[in-house]
């Protein structure tokens, strides 16, 4: 990636940035011209109540602004970053597809349409993470991201479907509107847990957080765009959107607050274990996502504002920081912070961006201060829990100060690394985007251009939010007091980074027992389970297959028998022809039994032929001369065929029947089952309407006296047509085998 091999230039694809730019401008123009929300609805699959329903309110607009705004700069950055990448065309195509998917996901109102775009972002993310697919690490990271986010996506589908069925609406707005009336529905907790599973996986919440750092094997523009600024926020977005409906639900609040807190803290700790700059940033992103989840979970309206503000701010500083990491990687060929020192002279512009973004990151607590105050005042009874949460936020915040220090200070200051060759600043296309984004972020801090949008977004989450709350949140005193504490702790973390790192790195049990290890364990377990099942069910032994199939058929047949109203009826009348049946029956049974006892194959064949001869004899005394004749003739021709095929079966002796007890049991069960079925049939009165009609119409209408034959060639001639097709095809099918036998040595 560091440009060791120069590739022919080709198109830079810089112009692609115009697409998000145009979309961004359209959005801005729209926001000025047209009050929110904007709605669009077109029929798609009315039979499934799936319509192309889109609804853009404040929250959607905020997300759209991020997606298209940051998207514009990411495309510019990528055109520089990938200038030497020969297959960048594909990457740009997927990136563009991703952007469109994001646009769709955050504007969709119909839950199925939302799900569609949601999955599309997972898919494109998969392709982008695996861009360096020649490396096995990239492949497995891509697969991990795919399995976790799409797995969560499936849960989301289940959850959304349930939600829709509970509320009777297939649109998000409809669900949010109708939900309060259905809070007592017993299905609701499951629906919400499923939805949250989807959101948590997408937004890398504990215990699904580990895919995000691994996804850093994607090229940096992708990391900056998908895995920090936009896609990972999709889960937050969905939770925030549903929060208006489920805010008062304890389950909702508890799950979100707990998960968010654990994620934020844990990711902060893990950030300290990393040496790779991008992975450090990724951990801190997870931490920020945890904070966002926690904020969504908090019940008071102010938290809603905090969510949107933090979400917005995070995107504006984290994307530039990723680009900084990318620039360093690009220039030096490494991202390991131990090898990165004093780069500020070689890369002054990058250093400047890093400092500005780091400041923003460290100076963020405006939202936290706000939250802390609001939380303390709003909730009184649950003081201890919430106190814990607020301690956690201080810790998390301090970590982000430390991370900002690492990214913005540590790598640029200090003595330059001498072991490496000369390092040059990167091209303008890789400098301008982070600089622009970070400056934009500062502009929003000082000039509240974005305030209306943020407020509109916050009101989607917390409809009760008043205009006053916004200004209150910017109270300088709170800001300062909170900042003071966190900066102090953060500074301590920053200074003791290496010592903390070594201490944490030594805790190998974290690698062994963490969720990431669990994921690997599950994958291995799946393979082992599959192997075990294969040995059990696909062992390759035909007799075993037959045994299992017979046992299953018998068992399931018995189940059906038990569960239906069956009665047995055995009649023991003994008409004269029954003596003939007895003779035939003895032949049948004796033949079948002898086939078991005999060893000479020829004799086995003869004995089994008796079953046919016996049947024919039976037919003779049951008014079926045609059948008897056919059966006799078939047995005769069978003898001819079998006698000519028998020599191919090797020695004349067949294997002795092993007489396994289990097989005997199966056979006995099969026999008993047959007997019961026939006895059952005997109890039913025969319905001869078809036979009567055939008998009455055979001669007058079909000109034949032999009713069986008339049925065969006329009344049910189609059966016969199929049957002779089977006969003819049986020869056709056997031709290759016959040819092989004729050659003498089949291969």
């Amino acid at each position: 990636m560091s440009g060791a091999h120069e590739h022919p230039a080709g198109p830079t694809w810089l112009w692609l940035a115009a697409i998000p730019l145009v979309l961004f401008l359209l959005l801005a123009w729209g926001l000025v011209r047209q009050p929110l929300p904007w709605q669009f609805d077109a029929a798609w699959i009315p039979s499934l109540s799936v319509s192309l329903a889109f609804r853009i309110d404040g929250l959607s607009a905020l997300m759209l602004a991020l997606v298209t705004g940051i998207g514009t700069w990411v495309f510019v950055y990528a055109s520089g970053y990938l200038a030497h990448e020969p297959r960048r065309g594909r990457l740009f195509a997927v990136l563009l597809l991703f952007m469109l998917a994001m646009v769709g996901a955050v504007s969709a109102d119909n839950v199925i349409v939302l799900f569609l775009f949601w999955e599309l972002t997972s898919l494109t993310s998969f392709l982008l993470v695996g861009f360096q697919h020649r490396r096995s690490h990239a492949r497995s990271a891509a697969r991990q991201a795919l399995l976790i986010t799409m797995g969560g996506g499936l849960a989301l589908l289940g959850g959304l479907t349930l939600l829709a069925q509970i509320t009777g609406s297939w649109t998000l707005s409809g669900i949010v509107a109708a939900a309060p009336a259905h809070l007592a529905d017993a299905r609701l907790p499951y629906a919400l847990l499923l939805v949250l599973l989807g959101a948590f996986t997408k937004s890398a919440q504990f215990p699904f957080h580990f895919w995000l750092p691994n996804a850093m094997s994607a090229p940096t523009p992708v990391s900056a765009y998908l895995h920090s600024a936009t896609m990972v926020k999709l889960g937050i977005y969905l939770m925030a959107r549903l929060d208006a409906a489920f805010n008062d639900l304890l389950l909702w609040e508890a799950t979100l607050v707990a998960t968010g807190t654990v994620t934020a803290v844990w990711a902060g700790v893990l950030a300290l274990r990393e040496r790779d700059l991008k992975r450090i940033l990724a951990r801190s992103t997870v931490s920020a996502l945890g904070t966002l989840t926690l904020l969504v979970g908090l019940p008071n309206p102010g938290a809603g504002l905090a969510v949107v503000t933090f979400l917005f701010a995070h995107a504006l500083y984290k994307a530039p920081l990723f680009m900084v990491a990318g620039n360093i990687d690009h220039a030096t060929g490494t991202r390991i912070i131990d090898h990165l020192m004093g780069l500020r002279r070689a890369m002054p512009w990058t250093a400047a961006v890093a400092v500005l973004a780091g400041l923003s990151m460290a100076g963020l607590p405006l939202s936290f201060g706000f939250v802390a105050k609001d939380v303390m005042s709003a909730a009184k009874a649950e003081a201890e829990v919430l106190a814990l949460v607020s301690y956690a936020t201080v810790f998390v915040n301090a970590i982000s100060v430390a991370v900002a220090g690492v990214a913005a200070v540590r790598v640029f200051w200090g003595p330059p690394e001498t072991a490496r060759g000369p390092v040059h600043e990167v091209s303008w296309r890789m400098l301008l985007p982070p600089l622009a984004i970070v400056l934009l972020g500062m502009e929003f801090d000082f000039v509240p251009t974005a305030d209306p949008l943020l407020l509109a977004a916050a009101r989607v989450i917390a409809p009760g939010l008043g205009a006053a709350d916004l200004s209150a949140s910017y109270g300088l005193d709170v800001l300062l007091s909170a900042t003071g504490l966190t900066v102090l702790v953060g500074l301590a973390f920053f200074l003791s980074w290496d010592r903390l790192h070594q201490r944490l790195q030594a805790m190998h049990w974290l690698d062994r027992y963490g969720p990431a290890a669990t994921y690997e364990l599950l994958l291995r377990g799946l393979a082992l389970l599959a192997a075990r099942q294969t040995r059990l069910l696909q062992h390759g032994r035909l007799t075993g297959y037959l045994r299992l199939a017979l046992a299953a058929l018998l068992g399931m047949g018995a189940f059906a028998w038990m569960n239906s109203d069956t009665r047995l009826s055995l009649s023991w009348t003994w008409p004269p022809q029954a003596w003939a049946w007895l003779v035939a029956g003895v032949l049948i049974v004796a033949g079948a039994g002898a086939a078991l006892r005999l060893r000479d194959r020829l004799a086995v064949l003869m004995a089994s032929g008796l079953v046919g001869y016996g049947s024919a004899a039976l037919f003779l005394f049951a008014g079926a001369p045609d059948l008897a004749f056919t059966q006799f003739a078939v047995e005769t021709v069978l003898v001819v065929v079998a006698a000519s095929v028998l020599p191919h079966y090797g020695t004349g002796q067949a294997r002795a029947v092993p007489w396994h007890a289990g097989d005997l049991l199966l056979a006995a069960a099969a026999g008993l089952g047959t007997f019961l079925l026939l006895a059952h049939l005997d109890g039913l009165p025969p319905d001869t309407r078809l036979a009567d009609w055939f008998g009455a119409n055979s001669l007058p209408a079909a000109h034949g006296r032999n009713v069986v034959n008339v049925i065969i060639v006329d009344f049910r001639a189609l059966d016969t047509l199929g049957e002779i097709a089977v006969v003819a095809f049986s020869l056709l099918a056997a031709l290759p085998l016959l040819a092989g036998l004729k050659r003498g040595t089949p291969t």
């Binding site: 021709v637 032999n706 003819a728």
Partner: protein, 132 residues
Amino acid sequence: MSPRSTLLAQSARPVYLLLLTAALWILLRGHNEPGGGFIGGLVAVAGSSLLAITLGTHSARRWQPLPPLSLAMLGVGLALASGLVGPVTGLPFLTHVWTDSGLSTVMLFDLGVFCAVWGALTGYVYALLEEG
């Protein structure tokens, strides 16, 4: 003992002709008495097998109108064709038609059955008997 029996060799052809005659007879009267295409076909197979066993498959093939597979396919084709008379006249598939002289597509159909059985099964018999 001579390797081949002259008694069997000499009686095979007349008996074959007898069997074939019987087969055709069974085929033709099957509509009114026991018999029909299947049984007729099976009897013909027995006849051809007799020839193949006693005189070899070469003469058995010579005494059959078509090679086995072709005969079998012709049989299926005949049966299909007899069924197509209906659709041509706007009636459902397999609607049989009778002429005043007693001829009918039923006979064609049954002949198809006969040929299919005769062809397919003799195909097996010949191929198996003439190995190596």
